[in-house]
Symmetry: C2
Amino acid sequence: MTTEAVRSYLREHHDRFVAELATWLKIASVSTSAAQAEEVRRAGVWAHEKLVAIGFPVVETIATAGHPLVFAEWLAHPGQPTLLIYGHYDVQPAEPLEAWLSLPFAPAIRDGNIHARGAVDDKGQVMLVLAALEAWSRSIGGLPINVKVILEGEEEMGGESIEAWVRSGPARLRADAALICDTHMVGEKQPSLITGLRGILYTEIAMHGPARDLHSGSYGGVAPNPIHALCVLINRLKGEDGVIRIPELTAALQPPPRAEKKFWDADPLHLEEALCREMGVDSLVGEEAYPPLERIGARPTLEVHGIRGGFTAKGAKTVIPAEALAKVSLRLPAGLKPAEVFVWFEKAVRRHTPAGHRVEVIQLSGGEGLVVSPENPFIKAASAAIESTFGVAPVFMREGGSIPVAALFDQILQLPVVLMGFGLPDDGPHGPNEKFSLAQFARGMATVAEFLGRLRQ
Amino acid sequence: MTTEAVRSYLREHHDRFVAELATWLKIASVSTSAAQAEEVRRAGVWAHEKLVAIGFPVVETIATAGHPLVFAEWLAHPGQPTLLIYGHYDVQPAEPLEAWLSLPFAPAIRDGNIHARGAVDDKGQVMLVLAALEAWSRSIGGLPINVKVILEGEEEMGGESIEAWVRSGPARLRADAALICDTHMVGEKQPSLITGLRGILYTEIAMHGPARDLHSGSYGGVAPNPIHALCVLINRLKGEDGVIRIPELTAALQPPPRAEKKFWDADPLHLEEALCREMGVDSLVGEEAYPPLERIGARPTLEVHGIRGGFTAKGAKTVIPAEALAKVSLRLPAGLKPAEVFVWFEKAVRRHTPAGHRVEVIQLSGGEGLVVSPENPFIKAASAAIESTFGVAPVFMREGGSIPVAALFDQILQLPVVLMGFGLPDDGPHGPNEKFSLAQFARGMATVAEFLGRLRQ
């Protein structure tokens, strides 16, 4: 149980925690941008110093082939459980900048939300965990259980370094459970816990046509056009019906548990309306045969995230370009291995590429999905902590996003993973004007503090 | 007939003409770029001054809503025919710059070719006409016939100003025939004259999906993806078979004259091999039912010139973007009106746009096609001039490119249009490393000078 001292510490220091978060958000730690490597490093240094200030006796910044890992541990309670807390201090690129109402790295508070790139994904959610740890540390001179913290700076670029470390199975990462705050809830009044995550395979397709750019007047009608070929290919991989045409993938899909399927079919959260409102559309698209909860959480998807080719500036240029490029991801239900799916995907891409073109496809990143049982005692403690601060018991959901590290904790470290996120559906984590509700920030601190207390035996 | 004096003048001053062309090519007159409006103006001033230097008694730069028109006339021979010579001093954008071996606006001579944006399209071809006019002027103190020159600076952006002027049917543009040097020949050893041009309709399609950029983890499976919708749409407008699916367009196509169809079917120029070599591909694509000459010159085409949407920088961003954009043109056989085809096109775009998306389509530019008779006396004079300088009679071809002004001269001014171009198929007019053969430049000067002489009655 959270002591009254911890609760009042969180209330008293709330504004400082927001200010600290704002300081952290000002660091433009875009991990996919080589030009911003120094900013990523600085964001890691900020977290390192904060962990020292909280009182962790061991804090280390570990160099990697990419961006550093920040590790801390405070193991003062033999016989008590050890919780491994994960977060990431890197952020998505902020482009297109012109779509932001305030600059992405100049945090601005409007209507009870803090707006910045990384506000909810994931600095804001790491900050609320750090606040809960500080509250315990300052109130009782330590933490109620044993805690390890691991923060990475490569989550938005594939997380290779942490994957390599986790795969090496180090004793330092041994724990009884993992906590990840990097997801969102159904709503402020309907908290949720995530018991399933999809995996991801992220690829890049380069389509090549003529040896050089051509004039469409002279060659239009006989020339291969790689933009057109890319459109034909993408349409064949997935049509308007939302059905992915990769036979090996279709064959590998498992039917979901009957209870979950029943929950999805009933759609008690009225997600169809909520999703339309959040996205600003009139109706959902995709596989009509499946309800929205299942489409988002348990069905595979194929999405084009970017496409580029030829002349797209103002005006008219009648060129047939030599090449075109697309970024395509597949979200994968738990159990599917990205490396294996990539083989099927590449085969389908080659088979569906129109004649006269040469195609290249590479895997940029990948991560497996995850399913955890609602009966696990750590999940039960998290559920109870949420109910005590939100006043409502959480529903158990499958989330469409991928957190590859969660699958690694599950498969390599054999830890039950508690996915307790405090984002809201309209936070827009990868788009412009990303925000985090300050009310959720406060509830999140209290919930994590409560969770830590409940784990003490 | 060309006098010996004119011929030797051209030989003696050849190097200076190349140097003058290089000076002109250094002016980056990209008409579609607002930032380069001053360069476009300077390229027009250069032409104006050159016409004055040649001896034209009347030279005027005419302001328009866009870039200026340069007009000159020398009407010293009542009873002799009047030739209206057209050219353009603006050029295509030079992007992508990294694909150029030498900078696009720093003309470089390599292997007997001058390399620069505009080398062949159209400054080099206007320059050879100006050289021929100068040679006559300096050799006999005037021109053998009456000549009007009209140069525009908006050809690569749709030519609105010249169109408005021609449509007003001004007395100043009255003539007996028009000469346009802005096309290419089959080859150095196989000259050709163009007796047909396709028209063009150039459009831009904006596809809108969700109200803001979305995270594919949270919404993938139910969210409209405008990139995907654009791919589906484009694939429906034209499939891998090259067949355009716009029923009104298909219904409006006329069967070609029997003699031309026979020439195309026989493919005496072995264009299939030549086209594959020029494009650097193994086989042609497009409508298998039609021979390459017909596909290029007389069939409609639908080409995507550019596509843009979402995240395409280095790395992986799992965004579903709010919108995506494509530039699409249709080349139109003679007789089809772009405005009418746009109505059919827009209808097809709306019909084929996947559900859940909103589409906008606008016409950026348009121009009608053209057919002229090989029996016209001006065409016969051009044919004879070519035979006298190349030693081979030209073949009559239909060209796939569009020169909207040619159609205007034909339809509004009722002039027979002589399309006598000296480019070669591998000049790459709209791509990087555009070039013009200096041998063709020299033959072009001699041919135009000869043509002017042959028109004197």
